[in-house]
Amino acid sequence: MAHTLAEKILLAHAEVDDLAPRDVVMVRADTVMANDVSGPVAFRQMQKLGAQRVFDARRVVMVADHFVPAKDARSAALQKRLKDWAQEQGVGYYDQGRGGIEHTLLAEEGWVVPGDVIVGGDSHTCTYGALGAFGTGLGSTDIAAALAFGDFWQPVPETISVRFAGRQRGFVSGKDLILAVIAEIGVGGATNAVLEFVGDGARSLTVDERLAVANMAVEAGAETGLFPADQVTREYLAGRVTREWDELSSDADAEFSRRVEVDLNRLEPLVAAPHSPGNVRPLAEVTGTHVHQVYIGNCANGTMTDLRQAATLLRGRRLHPRTRAVIVPATQRIYRQALDEGLLGMFVDAGAMVSTPTCGACFGGGMGVLGSGETAVATTNRNFRGRMGSPDAEVYLANAYVAAAAAVAGELIDPAELIEAPAR
């Protein structure tokens, strides 16, 4: 029987002879991940399960990233619990200041290879789809069970084929590609489904851009968003992983529940306007909107690619007096690299606040919270009402070029008003 990539991955991890959409199967996880928010809740559930030890310490990793550095004693207590538990269990652990934002980090650190199944106590675990892995977000009870037994229940999803045709140009980045997809299918459009990104446009994307695209698959309701592994994947993984992996892809006659095509040649920069990632508009429609805070970072867009894009606009410029900027490299490695390339100094000279890696500002956690009546442009993945602070604040999601241009202009503008578009 013909299978999609997602079905092949699940079949290789389940004790069944075959499977088809809507079957419910128990799936083995290659890696189980949790953070300082989902971990401690999962540890409580694991106790209720009566499980003392994890199924395989080498396949478990904990990341302190959500409330780091701790904003209060309570957050510090959670982080201590995470650390104590990780050390007691002997599992992988990334302490604050030594890791970074979980999804960018695990990809970078070689925890992920194509064909893997990775479950994480965080909805953006779908980010690992960028490397052809079935990464999917679960709640804490699911994570508790996966920690104890190494498996989880999974209804086999349908697959939506998303073809990126052509090559993106100008100030268009990974963020715009996924916003175009969400605009097309809606925020619930991929519920019970996987997105599979194919076409010459998909193959031409760097891993950083693929991370940005796959990261927001969940914003369409998807289980994960897969890029079949290719030459770009191989080059990224060389030197990061020693594990063997297969280059899987969907069979030519596999069944897709839907086919969507995005013409990259004609794609313009997009934003998601308040208060939904599905409220997608061309940037040109919202230019002139005053901006009080710019946030560049998070598990979608805190990569070197994003920081370099921001730097093309911030180099030698000052932020608009109306606007403050928070810039958060996603991992310590990226932080170090950006330091070496002189980007962080450039951001500081422009008047931006540069932070150590943390999820903080993205979800109204430890910092960068918005006040009533304020408007932000963020390279993050969610602009739900109140997510970044006051319910009376507004957040526009955009790529790093657009966000940095807004920081300089004090309002949403076309980056082309400040600099020439980069050559591709």
Binding site: R22, V24, V37, S38, P40, V41, R44, Q45, K48, L49, G50, H66, F67, D72, R74, S75, L78, G121, D122, S123, G137, L138, G139, S140, T141, D142, A144, A145, A148, F149, W153, P155, V187, G188, T191, N192, V218, G221, E223, S276, G278, F363, G364, G365, V369, R382, F384, R385, G386, R387, P391
Partner: protein, 163 residues
């Protein structure tokens, strides 16, 4: 399994878990304490309407976004016994089923229900009744059904490892 209760309505579509339980309180890991922040980004006054017989009646794609299990944990701790919705987001649906909190998709029942309506969910017969008016629902897949009958993922897994 048969659940009877009174409807509390959240009719908007795409209600996300951030408004159901704001991120600022994710550093709480005790469900009893989570109750105090349920619905805080949506309408805190909804909390006062929660009782031991509350059946939440909700719109489409309810529970979208973050995987935070704080939402169904707080709902369960507040007495919510079941959810009837037009549809649910994936992780939220899993979290509810895992906690033994049944949820069913039934747009017609949602359209019929008003605040305080008497709602009856009969999982065995596959029927939701609102003030006596009956609406059929698709049967839960066998696996989910057994898990809900067991009281959630943890009791189901305990039974699995004992057998």
């Amino acid at each position: 399994m048969r659940i009877v209760g009174r409807a509390l309505i959240i009719r908007q579509d795409n209600v996300d878990t951030d408004v159901l339980y704001p991120g600022a309180y994710l550093n709480i890991d005790d469900p009893e304490e989570m109750r105090e922040h349920l619905f805080e980004g949506l309408d805190s006054s909804l909390r006062e309407k929660l009782g031991p017989d509350t059946i939440l009646v909700v719109g489409a794609n309810f529970g979208a976004g973050s995987s935070r299990e704080h939402v169904p944990l707080a709902m369960k701790a507040s007495g919510v016994s079941c959810l009837v919705g037009e549809s649910f987001a994936r992780i939220f649906r899993r979290n509810c089923l895992n906690l033994g909190l049944p949820l069913v998709d039934c747009p017609d029942a949602v359209a019929r229900a008003e605040e305080g309506s008497r709602v009856e969910v009969d999982l065995d017969r596959g029927v939701v009744s609102v003030e006596g008016e009956r609406f059929p629902i698709a049967a839960l897949p066998e696996f989910m059904r057994r898990m809900v009958d067991a009281g959630g993922l943890i009791p189901w897994l305990r039974a699995r490892s004992e057998s």
